[in-house]
Amino acid sequence: MSYPGQMLVTMANVHRKDSHKLEVYRRHGGYKALEKAIKEIRPDDLIQMVKDSGLRGRGGAGFPTGMKWGFVPKSIPKPRYIVCNADEGEPGTFKDRVILENDPHLLIDGMLCTAWALESNRMFCYIRGEYGKSMRRMTDAVHEAYEAGLLGKNILGSGWDCDFDVYNGSGAYICGEETALLDSLEGKRGHPRLKPPFPAVVGLYGCPTVVNNVETLATIPSIVERGAGWFAGTGVEKGTGPRIFAVSGHVEKPGCYELELGKVTLRELIYEICGGIPRGRALKAVIPGGASTPYLTADEIDCTLDFVGVESKGSFMGSNGVIVMDDTTNIVRATLVLTRFFAHESCGQCTPCREGTHWAERVLFRISGGKGSPEDVDLLLDLCSNMGGTTICALADGAVNPIRSSIQKFREDYDRLIRGEDGPVPGRLCEVVW
């Protein structure tokens, strides 16, 4: 299978039989990156290499990875921890799972290179509780790696020790926020922390900690092996390398596609790579980067798939979960489904988020059921302005994005429901009964 813009880095092995096994990973050049790092690259040079590569975080915020590593003070006499954020939970996002289930050794390889760069002796992989298969595959891979001398004491005869823990979450979207994840790892409720201090300085157990997304860490081996220059030469200036685009919703061929950044447009992704909209329907809306990113209309999909391209249309790359909706979709009801999610997942620390998400859900529920009034739309906008930017973490901002953009771009859907022209359609998206 090949598609336009394809650039396989983190998905290079997933199609192989038994790709999750050490033997298969090694047969195709696995752990060469780790060997090279240990033998040839001094830790600080490896940090510089990742800076030079231009790699930006694949979790959602897109923060430059090398810079994040550079913030870790090596002079503090405390342990340094490497934490992999595998708490994938953003609706529309299912890319990390592909790596966890099908190429766990690539992730361990990348984490070991990271630990080498940060001179760390302990790594954690925090996997969301529902990912049972990912958990089993990672645990098995870690056992294999320990037995092969790739983890534990004196790794590959280097005199360097590094231990690995697979840690299972228990069902909380908020733990994908890096400081909430650290609290969760410490055995507490997943409550995001005020920043600064950032985890790089005060992280897990109060020690310097690097928290990176699965896909980010799985990209590191290719940079180590092929060089920062190679990676920096791919993609576009403000977004190098490939990213996995996880496409769902109304397309013929949903799934994960690893594309070089900036080489294809959102239109090409939907109509060429994913085979277009089923049943010949027309496109109505796209969420380009997971539930926390604003909607794009059918007229806004001629942007290249990179950070700058998507931002030029007023949305974000986010976690690259592309949700496609055809013209049968009522956007108010779609927004209700997303808002219900944020209300369910709000950790409850900050009042604007705890109260605002539930309030917005109730208002959207009212409108969706044909019982809304014109003032309700203003109320939603008012709620949005009281939620955005007023909380410790970005969950509330994420909840605002679909609400505000749906009103700005699909006002007609609201008006029709309020005028009673589009009452509840049985069996159609979200007749909310739960």
């Binding site: 199609h15 609706p91 509780g129 529902e130 228990s170 069902g171 909380a172 769902s248 998206l429």
Partner: protein, 172 residues
């Protein structure tokens, strides 16, 4: 009164000094407890705290925050259907209606024989292979009425339900 088996108690004790901070053992310890009992009631929170030698509020605060801990006993098999957007766009509601009819229960309810509980849950990360449901920790994707029937039918008979397709098979 100890509810947990000696085997589970030993596993939990073994976690005590595994992490740099004792408290990190709370969540994995509770997961062991739930795996055995299928529910975490107040006495289990106390028992786990006692085994780990941590204050009982530390187990209670974790149980009450995370959705995967059940404080009320659920059916032997929890059928959890994704209710988020990508699944909604591809017919999760039809699947939920079908399961409701088949089991004769509403969402959130348990069958009288204690075998099945039906739940509608938030995104489980199978959006591209929607609609989906999770039973235990197994994902069933590209759900159809026939597939639902096959899975529930096997569970009723006490057999291993047919799997997938999961991502692995999708890529091969």
């Amino acid at each position: 009164m100890a509810k947990l088996s000696e085997q589970t108690r030993e596993k939990i004790r073994g976690l005590r000094d595994h992490y740099p901070d004792r408290r990190s053992a709370v969540m994995p310890a509770l997961q062991h407890a739930q795996a055995e009992l299928g529910v975490i009631e107040e006495d289990t929170m106390l028992e786990v705290a006692g085994l780990l030698e941590v204050p009982a509020n530390q187990t209670a605060e974790v149980v009450s925050f995370y959705t995967m801990f059940d404080r009320v006993k659920k059916g032997k098999y929890k059928i959890e259907v994704c209710r988020n957007l990508s699944c909604a766009l591809r017919g999760n509601l039809e699947m939920i209606e079908h399961i409701k009819k088949k089991l004769g229960i509403e969402v959130g309810e348990t069958t009288p024989d204690g075998k099945f509980t039906l739940l509608a849950v938030e995104c489980l990360g199978a959006c591209g292979w929607a609609p989906m449901m999770m039973v235990g920790d197994t994902y069933y994707e590209f759900l159809t009425r026939e597939k639902v029937d096959a899975v529930i039918g096997a569970l009723v008979e006490g057999q291993e339900p047919p799997g997938g397709p999961h991502t692995q098979e999708v890529f091969e």
